[in-house]
Each structure stands twice: as structure tokens, then as C-alpha cells.
């Protein structure tokens, strides 16, 4: 087991760590949202919208518009 942080990191310098950290923050603060992350958010939004009366009505109104968008997101084909 390493005795201190220099031994634990071995040959890696702070420059390598800085590169990794910069990439990590670039992904974290990116305004582009990958489809995977967006799909993770969906259950929460639907759960919330289905819980209240007024939001449930809005959800059902929005459903027909939402389905083609989701199909397009999955298949990559645009429906006409």
C-alpha cells in the first residue's frame, strides 16, 4: 500500500490529472444533452405530471406531439 499521494500516483504528473479533470468538467457543463441522460429524466417528469390533476391533463395533451419526437430520437428517421 502506498505511503503518500506521490507513491499512489506513480509516474503520473499533475498535468495528466489536470487534463482528465478539464475533460470531466467540459462534459459536466456541456449544454448538449446526450439521449441517454435525457431518457433518464423522462420517468421523473412523467411521474410528476401524472400526480396532479392539471398537470395530468397537460401531459395527455402533449402526448400525441411527444411520441413522434421520441420515435425520431430513437430511430433517427423523420416521419412525414
Amino acid at each position: 500500500m502506498a505511503d503518500n499521494y506521490l507513491e499512489a500516483y506513480g509516474q503520473e504528473t499533475s498535468r495528466d490529472v489536470a487534463g482528465r479533470t478539464a475533460n470531466y468538467f467540459q462534459d459536466l457543463f456541456s449544454l448538449e444533452m446526450p439521449l441517454g441522460r435525457m431518457m433518464k429524466m423522462m420517468p421523473g417528469m412523467v411521474k410528476f405530471a401524472a400526480a396532479g390533476k392539471d398537470t395530468r391533463e397537460d401531459l395527455f395533451k402533449f402526448m400525441p406531439q411527444m411520441m413522434p419526437m421520441m420515435k425520431q430520437a430513437f430511430t433517427g428517421k423523420k416521419e412525414e
Partner: protein, 236 residues
């Protein structure tokens, strides 16, 4: 092994500023006056914790030392350092950002794991932010169990949150990624000295820190900023 100054990435802070979109600023203006450390309650208990040194290492680019330190996890966000800083450096926000970065490097997951019980038991299921069980032991002795006081006053033992409120809390948790995060760190029980049995105690002696928290491998952290001290130092 000796570290050399050329190993440090002194451009990192300049590169990091535009990425963070104005959330962090002015660390380069740090005077190293040490007012932050002087008033810090965490530093009074753990003398090795030193906000001034962490800011210095950040600006100099000695990131290995910051990320692998135990000290990065001593701050409890009282923001006293921010209020006394003559240059208005928001140090707690740096701590917040660099804890994320340290977790990306594999450090500190065992500290975050301790939030899971609270989140799963009370916050996500019942919507309660302050549990009855996590109260100050001293207050428990003098005031007693808060649920009993509530019942004597004719209230239910715990605060009731409406279904809609609960759904909103769960939505926020899903949207912010907290739910998936909690799933990711689940799976390994942390040992509590008060409730552990003989088998757990044996395991604890063989293996002082969890090597894995959920699916994530954790790395051992070090006291990089001096002797941890503790009670003896706090009294002196």
C-alpha cells in the same frame, strides 16, 4: 519519489475558468493572508485542513495533492471563509467543484455514501429533510424524542408531505441525476462502530476502508497538508 515544479499544471486554472462558465472566479487574486484558515471551524478541529494551502495548490496546479487529500472533505460549507475573504473568493464553491473532480479520480466516495441512508429512508420516500433519528444526541437527552413531543401536541409523529409534493421531490431527484447516483453508490454497507457485531469488527480491522462503494472503486486518501492532529491539537 520527489515531485518537481514542472509536473504541476499552472495553466489549469486559466483553462478551467471558461469551462466553469463564471461559477468560479478570482482564485488568482488570493493574497495568501490566511484569514479563511484563521476563522475556519473545521480547521480548529482538524489543524491540517487549510483553505489557504488548497487555494495555493489550485492556482499552482498541484492537483494530485488536492484531489488525493482527506482535507478536501473536511469543509462543511459554513461559508465563513467567503465572508472574511478580502478578495471575495468563494472558497466553498471551489471545494464543491473539486470534490466532484476528486470523485472523478476515485477519491471520497465513502464519504458520499453516508448520505444514501438519509436520502433513501426519509427524503425520497417521505419527503422529510430533517429526520428524527439524526438529531444531536445532547438535544435528545434534554428535549427527548421529537416524535413524542409532536404526538403530545396532537400532531402525527412525522411531518406529512402531500403526494404532489413527494412526486415533485422525486422528479427533482430524477432530473438532477440524484436517483441514478444513489443507485450507483448502493451495494456496500458502511460499518458503524456503535452498532457493529464481532464479525463486522473483525472485518473492520482487516479492511479499514471500503475498496468499493457500489460499482465504484475507491482509492485511499492521505493527510497531504500535515498531521491531522484532532482533539489534542484542538485543546492546545
Amino acid at each position: 519519489m520527489l515531485e518537481q515544479v514542472k509536473d504541476w499544471d499552472d495553466d489549469f486554472y486559466e483553462k478551467f475558468k471558461p469551462i466553469a462558465m463564471g461559477f468560479v472566479n478570482e482564485a488568482e487574486k488570493c493574497l495568501q493572508c490566511g484569514k479563511c484558515t484563521g476563522q475556519c471551524p473545521a480547521a480548529a478541529v482538524t489543524p491540517s485542513y487549510n483553505p489557504r494551502k488548497i487555494i495555493r495548490d489550485l492556482v499552482n496546479g498541484n492537483l494530485k495533492r488536492v484531489f488525493s487529500s482527506v482535507e478536501l472533505w473536511q469543509c462543511f460549507f459554513c461559508s465563513g471563509c467567503y465572508s472574511v475573504c478580502p478578495m471575495d473568493i468563494n472558497f466553498p464553491f471551489f471545494v464543491f467543484m473539486f470534490r466532484l473532480a476528486a470523485m472523478n479520480e476515485g477519491y471520497g466516495w465513502e464519504d458520499v455514501k453516508q448520505l444514501e441512508g438519509y436520502a433513501e429512508k426519509d427524503y425520497l420516500k417521505k419527503g422529510i429533510t430533517v429526520s428524527t433519528f439524526e438529531r444531536n444526541p445532547e438535544a435528545m437527552e434534554t428535549v427527548g424524542d421529537i416524535s413524542k413531543i409532536r404526538m403530545a401536541a396532537g400532531l402525527p409523529p412525522e411531518r406529512k408531505v402531500s403526494d404532489r409534493g413527494l412526486a415533485e421531490i422525486n422528479m427533482i431527484s430524477d432530473l438532477s441525476g440524484m436517483t441514478s447516483f444513489m443507485k450507483k453508490i448502493g451495494g456496500v454497507e458502511l460499518l458503524d462502530c456503535k452498532t457493529c457485531d464481532d464479525a463486522q469488527m473483525k472485518r473492520c480491522k482487516n479492511k479499514p476502508l471500503p475498496a468499493k462503494v457500489g460499482k465504484i472503486k475507491t482509492k485511499l486518501r492521505f493527510y497531504n497538508y500535515g498531521e491531522p492532529g484532532g482533539k489534542a491539537h484542538a485543546e492546545a
